[in-house]
Every structure is written in structure tokens, then in C-alpha cells.
């Protein structure tokens, strides 16, 4: 299952670790109206992440980790505060602008996988590549699926895969785009120790070789410890 061969990965562009922040979060709050009361999910959060860093966001369930991740990835807008991705201040942009930034920089692994049920594993992985006009999308998708140990299940549909397998497809999909910044929400949440370990190997290998900035939300101590930084969130606030 988990004979993930890190050595066999083709060498891509050498990692060029930069020091300027690739992600800046300044005084971000997220307040949502629920019924009569205003619910504060994030309260004045500030954070800076440099290119090539890996960072783990941990905290109890309901703390606001996924919300913060979504904000940083430009999927959502904060109630107040500003966020910059690369050289773009995404909080000053409209949705179309954010979409361009996402297309340029961002990759995700979703907590709920978000695989399309009518597409095979291969098609699921290839889809974002195809959308961005990538030539040889299928070949690349196949390559990454093999890396997560699913080389034999290319033409299987999500419903034919186990939860862990589905998660690995989701990871392969995020990797295949080779993004500058990868956001992963509980990437190993459904995996056993060995597979989980292999997946995190993959993550850090990507971080290593391509200089991909990793931003992970995780409950797993082992995964968090491999990151260069750990940020703890509780009740919408960063606690250090």
C-alpha cells in the first residue's frame, strides 16, 4: 500500500528558499451573523509566512482553523483586516482578481476531499491541470497518483475507493498542480500511520524540492512537528 518511493520523483526546479513573506495576515477578524448574535470566528489574527516555510495550524475542533485557511487561500473574505498572497493584497481585490491569484499560486487539499463523483481518480487529478490548459495532463496525473500509491486504481470512481484512498487522490490532485503555496486541511486525517507518514513525506518532499510553501491544518502531533512552525488557534485567536 505505502511503497511510496520518494527517490524516484523526477527532479523539478531546485528549491530556492526565499525570505520575504509569501503570505501576510494582518489583524484579520471574521464575524458571521448567526440568527441574532454576531459570532466571532476569528478575532484579530495576524500571521506572516515566508516562501518555502512549512507551517502547521493546530487547535481544538471549532477553533476556526479551516476558516483561517479559507481566508488565507483567498476563498473567503475577512470582516476586517488584510491578507496578502505573494505580492497581491487579496483583501483589496474582487472575486475575479482573487481567482487569478488562486490560479497562479494556490493549491488545496480539502478536509472533505471534494472529489467529483462522476470522474475517475485519474480524471479527478487531471481536471485542474486540464482547466489551466496544461499539456499532458493525464500523464502527469498518473505520475502523481502513482506517487501516492494509487497507480493501480486510476480508473476507479471515488465511490469505489476507501476514505483514505480518496484522500490520497485529493492530495495527488493538489500536488499535480505544483502550486507555490499548498493549503492542506487535515491531509492525513483519514490515513493509517504508515500511509499518513508516506503522505507527509510527499508533502515535505514537495516543500523541499520545489520550495512549495506548506500550510497545514492538522490534529496530528507527528505531522505538526515536522513543520518549521506551529501556530495554535483557540477560539478564534492565536495563542502562543
Amino acid at each position: 500500500m505505502s511503497q511510496v518511493n520518494v527517490e524516484s520523483r523526477p527532479a523539478t526546479a531546485p528549491a530556492a528558499v526565499q525570505t520575504e513573506p509569501v503570505l501576510q495576515v494582518k489583524n484579520v477578524s471574521k464575524i458571521v451573523p448567526t440568527g441574532d448574535i454576531q459570532l466571532t470566528i476569528l478575532d484579530n489574527v495576524s500571521l506572516e509566512i515566508n516562501q518555502g516555510q512549512s507551517i502547521a495550524i493546530i487547535g481544538p475542533s471549532g477553533a476556526g482553523k479551516s476558516t483561517l485557511l479559507g481566508l488565507m487561500a483567498g476563498l473567503d473574505t475577512p470582516t476586517s483586516g488584510s491578507i496578502s498572497l505573494g505580492s497581491h493584497e487579496i483583501t483589496a481585490m474582487d472575486e475575479e482578481g482573487r481567482a487569478r491569484v488562486r490560479a497562479e499560486l494556490v493549491g488545496f487539499v480539502f478536509q472533505t476531499f471534494q472529489l467529483l463523483s462522476s470522474l475517475t481518480a485519474l480524471e479527478n487529478v487531471a481536471l485542474p491541470l486540464e482547466l489551466s490548459g496544461h499539456k499532458g495532463a493525464a500523464a502527469k496525473a498518473k505520475e502523481y497518483l502513482e506517487q501516492v500509491g494509487l497507480g493501480a486504481r486510476l480508473s476507479h470512481y471515488p465511490k469505489q475507493l476507501s476514505g483514505g484512498e480518496q484522500q490520497r487522490v485529493a492530495i495527488a490532485r493538489a500536488f499535480a498542480c505544483e502550486p507555490k503555496i499548498l493549503f492542506a486541511d487535515e491531509p492525513t486525517g483519514n490515513l493509517d500511520q504508515t500511509t499518513g507518514g508516506a503522505v507527509s513525506d510527499l508533502l515535505f518532499d514537495l516543500n523541499d524540492k520545489n520550495g512549495t510553501t506548506l500550510i497545514l491544518v492538522t490534529h496530528e502531533q507527528r505531522l505538526a512537528e515536522r513543520c518549521s512552525r506551529i501556530v495554535t488557534i483557540d477560539d478564534g485567536r492565536i495563542v502562543d
Partner: protein, 853 residues
């Protein structure tokens, strides 16, 4: 673009598009089939018109055409040909055969036809068609092939027509002025015009259509038209009996009739479009729900809303293109079946269709997508990328009311386009929706009833009925779709199978079996005694002459006024009698009784005609019979029971008024033998080949001018026309029913996931597969039963109105329709429903749960 097609293909593979595509295919197919048929028939008729005069124009009259008309044509340099058509009884010259036939005799001058050609063959087996520019020579007749079969004779035999004998020399495959084909009950016999007198069939008052065919260059034709119009505005007595028939005029008349026919057909197809649209809307809604995840993902990956709308556009366009093309193809296939029916009326080869039906149907596909599918998908590009993280986000779906209005507008647009009238379109849709509303109301009541019944039945009955009630929204949609279609099918079937025979069975015991007419004055006593000898009952004989009203109170009728009523525009039958005929009721004035002044002619007029032409008691009418005019005073107005199947007259004169026109005699007679045969099998439409009544043969042999019509034959002919028309309609409605099935499928699809989960849970909790299956079976069977019940009730109501209003007969119930309605409802919906929800039963519970998440 390519990627979008790839995505579309994946959606299709995932089974999310099937219903949308098939709904679209069916909607387009229904419209294609119907409009192709209408178009071809229309073109066929139009083509026939241009050739149907066998000339450029024709002077028409019910009496012999005065020489003036021909000499004028000769002067103008036009070619001419006289023709005369009438019916006459012919009997077989074969000594072994008793057969006779009421044939359509046509006498033509040898110059006939002036335009077009006669198509002739030498024998039955002969397939080489010989074209002829002239009619039969003197002493010979050419006949339609079927006459040989009917009379059991062959080419070369002699044929007696009236008092003359002819040799059958050729068979007529086609003649240019055959006409619309509706009058094709009587077989054609064509003879030379010069032989007409020899037959002695034409007597004063005989019903003959004379025509003077004219052809020539445009200038000459126009000159003649002008001359004719001038004659019209003068007050020539002759002119009141003639009419100039031109191709354009015929085309115009036919045109409006055809337009009505086409919109009727298309409107019945619209019901199919409506149901398919409903199915499409339901399926599109489901498809849109499936697409939300995909769109949210695409957005998260940085695809712009524009790009996504573009992608939707490409996908929808490709889908529309493919489905519409398929629909056109299937519609084209289906139209051949409809054509089989149309052939009975319009002959074998109708011209190829024009572009119009293809355009109409193609556009129908596009309008369907815009009106039914697009509204459900419209919000997709606006889906927020955040949905990938938070699935509970609202999806800014277009409101249901909005989508409904768009759908209705689309339908209105289509019906308007089909019918060419906004009023008809609105009325039609209004009625349809009213029908839906009423059947919906019924459906709800039935559901309530059924639900309470479920409480004291076995477990799967309870489960099934509870399901029906719980998803009553969907249940209603399915019920309405199906019951409406079934209702229409039942009405049409009822019309075809029972109405005519019921009406026939209700005719009074003393209804005549035959009508004898064209009996010459000098033959009357002999005819009566022949009838007596054969035991045929007869009592009142009516003298009959043909003529027309030419003036009212001394004023000649204007063209405009002529056009107001049939009673003015054509020649009608007059009679004279001392006694008010039975089933006639006076509504104004007094009947003349016994002591009237024979010096003054009086008229009793049928109420509707009097109203139409605008005359009342005391008015003086100028009447022309064969060009001879006289005046008569209107002294009474009466109603007539047209259903009585006894001789009826618009105008009745005081005795003696018509004597000088040597009237022919007419009577309804009753042959007890035929009566007995008919009453034995009144409901059996297969007894078409009835043995000819004995008296008919001896009558025809003895009195060649007399014509005998069997009432049963007339009814049979009506029945066969209704039969064919309703069969055509049934075929269209079957297509509509298929659309109804799609609605069922779409509604099942809506609740499919939910059912899958419920049944999986039920089965995990230990319920047997049998229970789940049983509940589904009960659910669908009940649905079918209710749909059938609503349809039967509705059909019975429609038939009630037809019986009381159209046929003016005693209404009755039709248990066979109830059985048919409920039976087909249960079987159809039960089978389709179970078939469609098979996976719910067969997929192991764990697998279905997993499929869902």
C-alpha cells in the same frame, strides 16, 4: 472548448444528463413528427390545387352552363372543355354477381384535361403508366381499378350506365382534378361528354356539377375574369347559378383550413412539449445540484465566473445540438407512422416537406433548453468558491416562481408560434393548466383518502402509501402529467370505439335503412310497388328540386351577403308538402295546413338558416330553379332534428309551388331484413361487408336513374373517417405519453438518493428485500390507479359533453374506458416506476450507503 465537451461527456457518463437529453429528444421528436406531417399534407393539398382544376380556371354550375360562357371563352382565345359529374348506381354485368356500387360518373369532352394529364393503365397487373391528354372516346368508359373489384368485372366487359352501355377500355390510375380525396367513397367512371345524353341520367332537378374548364395565356385568362366580374355586377339571371373557380381562390380557402389543422395538431403536440419540459426542468435542477461541487472546485482553482459561464454555454449548446438532432431524426421516423394514416386521405405520395417544420422543431429544442433547462443552471457561475469549505452556503438559486414563469413564457411562445394566434395560445395553455389544476385537486383528495386507508393495511402497503403521501409534491407532479395524457388518450379511444356505435344503437326503431332518391315523377308509382313487393316499408315521399335564393324582398343578393351563409352561397334542396314533417317544430309563424291559397307560394324555413341570411316572417324571397325565378313569402320558421336520419329540408314550400320544375322524389325506406342484420351487430365495426339488400338490385336494374344509399354505409364512412383521424391522434398522444413517462422518471430521480438511503437503512435494520419491493410496488401501482381514475373521470366528462352537445344523444357511462384507464395506469406506472427504481432494491445496502457518501 474541447475540455468542455470532455466534461459534458463525463456528465453524461455519470448518468446526470440522460433525462435532460431524452426529454429534449422527445419534445423535439413530437413537434417534428407532427409538423412534418402537417407540412407534407399541406404541400400535397396545395399541389393538388394547382392541378386540381385540370385547367387555369373553371366556370361551375349546378345547371347546364349557358353557351354564352363558352362563346366568350372562344372569343378570348381560351381552350375549353365541358365536364359534368354526378353519382349513379351501377350494377355488375357479371351474371354471377349481384353487386352494385354508387359510382362517381364524370363526363368529359375530348379536350379534357386542359392542364395536367390522365394516368392510365391497361389492366390491374399493368405497371406502365400511360399519360393521356384527352378523355375516353365515345362508347367507352375508363374506370377506377377498384370498381372492377367491387363489381367483379374486368377490362373489356360492358358497363351499363343509366340506359346506355359502354365498354371498359382502360383503368384510371390518377386524374389531375381528383380533388382532396375526401369524396373518394364513390369509384370514378369517366365517359365522353357526347355520351351523356344517351344515359338519360340527367333529368331536370338531377344533382349534377357542370364545369366549363378554361385554359390559355395570362392575358386571355385575365380578360375572361374581367368579363365575368362585369357580368356579376350586372343582373343576368343566369349568372346567379354560376361561379368562376380560380386556383388562387381555392388556395386561399384551403390555406386557412390547413392553418387550423396544423395548429390543432401542433397544439396536441404541445402537451408533449409541456410534459417533456417539466421532466427537463426537474432533471436540470438535479443536474445543477450535482454541478455545484464541480463549479465550486473550478472556482477555487481560480477559474473566473466568465469562464465557467462559457463552459456551461458550450456544454448546453452541444447538448442542445445533439439532442435536437436526435429529436429531429426520431420525429422524422415517427412521422412515417402518422403518414400511414394520412395516406388514407391524401393518397400515397405526398411531396417532400419544406424547411419550415425542421426549423420549427429545431427552434423548439432551443426554446425548451432556454425555458426549462437554463433557468435551473443559471446560478451556477455565481457559486462561491467558499462552498468547497462550507457546504451549507446558500446557492442563490433562481426562485421557483421565476423558473415557473420562464417555463410558462417559453410554452406560450411555442404555442403562439405553432398556432399563429396569441389568443389561441393563451386559451390553450389556460385550459391545459386548468385541467392540471383540477386533476391536481382530485389527486390530492385521492391521496388523502388512500393515506388514511394505509393505516389498517399490511406493513408494506402502509409503507408504500406513506411514501406517496410524504412525497406528495412529487406524487402530484407525476399524477398530473400522467393523468392528463391518459385522459386525452381515453377520450380519443372512446371516440373511436364507442361513440358512433352507441349513437347508432340509439337511433329510433323506425329509422330508415336506406334513402331512395332521384326517382323520376313517372317512375314513382312503380318504385313504390317494387318496394312493396320486396317488403320494404316506406311512407312519406318528398318531391325535391334544387335551386337557390337569389333575392330578398326584390333586392338582388350582393356578394358579401352571399358569403354569409351556406344556404345562400350554394344550391340547396327544396321540397313541398302539406304536412309539417315529423321532428320539425315551428318556432314562429303558422303552418299552412290544408287551406292555403295555391296562387301564392309560401315558405317555411329552418331557423338557423333564417338567422344566418337575416330574414323573418313576411319577407319575400326570390327563388331561382334552373334559371327560372319566382317569389315566395316566408310564413313560418321551424327547427329540424338533424340527428333523426330522416329527410330534412332547409326550405319547404306550399304544395304545387314546385310542380313546374318536375321534381324528383325522395324518401327514407326501411328494409326489415337489413334492420334485423344491423341490430344484431350494431357495435361490431367489422361487419363492413354487408350483404346488399335484395330490393336494391332490382330497383337499380329497373330504374337506372334512381339512387339508393344505405344508411349503414354512410355511418360506416363516418366511422372510418373518425377511426383514421383518432388513430393519428392516438399516435401523437402515445408520443405525449412517453413524455409523461419522462416526468415519472424525473420525479423518481429527484427522490432517488433519498430513497436509496432510506431503503438501505431499512434493510440494514433488518427489513427484507421483499418489504422494500412490496412498498415500491404498492406506491407505484397506487399512483397508476389514481392517475387512471382521474383520467377516466375526466374522459367520461369530456365524452358526456360530446354525447350531449355534438351527437345530441343520451349520455352513458363507459366502463370499458374505466377499466382501460386504471388498468393501463397501474401497469404502465407500476412497471416503469419499478424498472426505474430497480437499483434501490437490488443494490446491497452497504454499497448504496457508500455511494451516497
Amino acid at each position: 472548448m474541447l475540455l468542455d465537451i470532455k466534461l459534458l461527456w463525463r456528465d453524461w457518463r455519470g448518468g446526470q444528463l440522460g433525462l435532460i437529453v431524452w426529454s429534449l429528444v422527445l419534445a423535439v421528436a413530437v413537434v417534428t413528427a407532427v409538423s412534418l406531417l402537417a407540412d407534407r399534407v399541406e404541400r400535397g393539398l396545395n399541389e393538388q390545387i394547382s392541378a386540381f382544376l385540370a385547367a387555369d380556371m373553371a366556370v361551375r354550375s349546378g345547371i347546364e352552363i349557358a353557351p354564352l360562357y363558352k362563346s366568350q371563352a372562344d372569343d378570348a382565345g381560351l381552350q375549353t372543355a365541358n365536364t359534368a359529374t354526378f353519382v349513379s348506381m351501377l350494377f355488375s354485368s357479371n351474371p354471377d354477381s349481384e353487386a352494385n356500387h354508387l359510382a362517381a360518373i364524370k363526363a368529359v369532352e375530348s379536350t379534357y384535361p386542359l392542364r395536367g394529364e390522365l394516368e392510365l393503365v391497361d389492366s390491374f397487373e399493368d405497371t406502365t403508366i400511360e399519360l393521356s391528354q384527352s378523355g375516353p372516346p365515345v362508347g367507352e368508359v375508363w374506370v377506377e381499378p377498384r370498381l372492377l373489384t367491387i363489381l367483379d368485372i374486368k377490362v373489356g366487359d360492358t358497363l351499363e350506365v343509366g340506359y346506355a352501355e359502354f365498354t371498359i377500355s382502360k383503368l384510371i390510375a390518377n386524374e389531375p382534378d381528383r380533388g382532396g380525396g375526401f369524396s373518394s367513397a364513390a369509384a370514378r367512371v369517366m365517359m365522353n361528354y357526347a355520351d351523356l345524353a344517351k344515359t338519360e341520367l340527367i333529368r331536370p332537378g338531377s344533382r349534377v356539377n357542370y364545369r366549363l374548364l378554361l385554359a390559355g395565356d395570362t392575358a386571355a385568362v385575365d380578360q375572361y375574369k374581367t368579363w365575368f366580374a362585369e357580368l356579376d355586377s350586372g343582373d343576368s339571371q343566369l349568372q346567379s347559378h354560376v361561379r368562376l373557380q380560380t386556383a388562387e381562390e381555392e388556395e386561399e380557402q384551403l390555406g386557412s383550413a390547413l392553418q387550423r389543422g396544423r395548429s390543432f395538431l401542433l397544439l396536441s403536440g404541445t402537451i408533449g412539449v409541456l410534459l417533456a419540459g417539466l421532466a427537463m426542468a426537474l432533471a436540470s435542477h438535479r443536474y445543477a445540484n450535482r454541478l455545484i461541487d464541480q463549479v465550486a472546485l473550478m472556482k477555487a482553482w481560480g477559474q473566473s465566473a466568465r469562464r465557467i459561464r462559457q463552459s456551461q454555454f458550450v456544454r448546453l449548446s452541444v447538448l442542445t445540438l445533439i439532442a435536437t438532432t436526435l429529436g429531429l431524426f426520431f420525429g422524422w421516423l415517427a412521422h412515417w407512422f402518422l403518414l400511414e394514416v394520412a395516406k388514407e386521405f391524401f393518397g400515397a405520395d405526398l411531396p417532400l416537406p419544406s424547411m419550415r417544420p425542421w426549423l420549427v422543431s429545431g427552434a423548439t429544442g432551443i426554446v425548451c433548453v432556454l425555458g426549462f433547462a437554463l433557468p435551473a443552471l443559471w446560478h451556477l457561475p455565481a457559486i462561491e468558491p467558499l462552498r468547497v469549505l462550507r457546504r451549507d452556503l446558500p446557492d442563490s438559486l433562481m426562485s421557483q416562481g421565476m423558473r415557473l414563469s420562464i417555463g410558462v413564457v417559453a410554452l406560450l411562445l411555442l404555442t403562439f408560434w405553432y398556432s399563429g394566434s396569441l389568443l389561441i395560445a393563451a386559451l390553450f395553455l389556460g385550459c391545459l393548466f386548468a385541467l392540471f389544476a383540477v386533476s391536481g385537486l382530485f389527486a390530492l383528495q385521492f391521496l388523502r383518502l388512500v393515506q388514511t386507508m394505509g393505516n389498517w393495511r399490511g406493513s408494506y402497503v402502509r409503507l408504500g402509501l406513506a411514501n406517496l403521501w410524504r412525497r406528495r409534491g412529487q406524487t402530484m407532479v407525476q399524477l398530473i402529467g400522467f393523468s392528463t395524457t391518459l385522459l386525452l388518450l381515453l377520450v380519443v379511444t372512446g371516440l373511436r370505439t364507442s361513440l358512433i356505435s352507441e349513437w347508432q344503437a340509439q337511433l329510433p326503431e323506425d329509422t330508415p335503412t336506406h334513402f331512395v332518391f332521384n326517382v323520376a315523377d313517372q317512375d314513382l308509382e312503380q318504385v313504390k310497388s317494387t318496394l312493396d313487393e320486396n317488403g320494404v316499408l316506406h311512407n312519406t315521399w318528398y318531391p325535391m328540386v334544387r335551386g337557390r335564393i337569389v333575392g330578398i324582398n326584390g333586392e338582388a343578393l350582393t356578394r358579401e351577403r352571399l358569403a354569409q351563409s351556406d344556404g345562400l352561397a350554394r344550391e340547396i334542396n327544396f321540397t313541398q308538402t302539406a304536412e309539417l314533417p315529423v321532428e320539425n317544430v315551428l318556432t314562429a309563424g303558422t303552418w299552412w295546413g290544408e287551406d292555403f291559397d295555391p296562387a301564392i307560394s309560401q315558405i317555411s324555413m329552418e331557423q338557423d338558416v333564417a338567422q344566418e341570411i337575416g330574414v323573418g316572417l313576411g319577407d319575400n324571397l326570390q327563388i331561382s330553379v334552373g334559371g327560372i325565378e319566382f317569389s315566395a313569402q316566408l310564413t313560418s320558421i321551424r327547427t329540424v332534428n338533424w340527428q333523426s336520419m330522416t329527410p330534412n329540408f332547409y326550405l319547404i314550400f306550399t304544395p304545387g309551388s314546385l310542380d313546374k320544375f318536375s321534381p324528383n322524389w325522395l324518401s327514407g325506406v326501411l328494409d326489415p331484413v337489413v334492420k334485423a342484420q344491423e341490430s344484431q351487430a350494431p357495435n361490431d365495426s367489422t361487419t363492413v361487408v354487408q350483404k346488399e339488400a335484395a330490393f336494391v338490385t332490382s330497383m337499380v336494374k329497373q330504374f337506372p336513374t334512381a339512387v339508393v344509399l344505405q344508411l349503414g354505409d354512410i355511418i360506416e364512412r363516418i366511422r372510418s373517417v373518425i377511426d383514421k383521424v383518432t388513430r393519428g391522434l392516438e399516435m401523437i398522444l402515445l408520443l405525449v405519453l412517453a413524455c409523461g413517462a419522462l416526468v415519472l422518471f424525473a420525479a423518481i430521480a429527484v427522490s432517488f438518493d433519498e430513497r436509496l438511503r432510506e431503503n438501505a437503512i431499512l434493510r440494514t435494520l433488518g427489513s427484507s428485500q421483499k418489504l422494500v419491493f412490496g412498498a415500491l410496488a404498492v406506491e407505484f401501482a397506487t399512483l397508476g390507479l389514481i392517475a387512471g381514475l382521474i383520467a377516466s373521470v375526466g374522459a367520461e366528462i369530456v365524452l358526456y359533453f360530446m354525447q350531449t352537445r355534438v351527437f345530441e344523444m343520451e349520455p352513458g357511462l363507459h366502463p370499458s374506458l374505466w377499466l382501460l384507464g386504471m388498468g393501463s395506469g397501474v401497469l404502465l406506472i407500476g412497471a416503469l416506476g419499478l424498472l426505474r427504481s430497480r437499483p434501490i432494491i437490488s443494490v446491497p445496502p452497504l454499497q448504496s450507503l457508500r455511494q451516497l457518501n
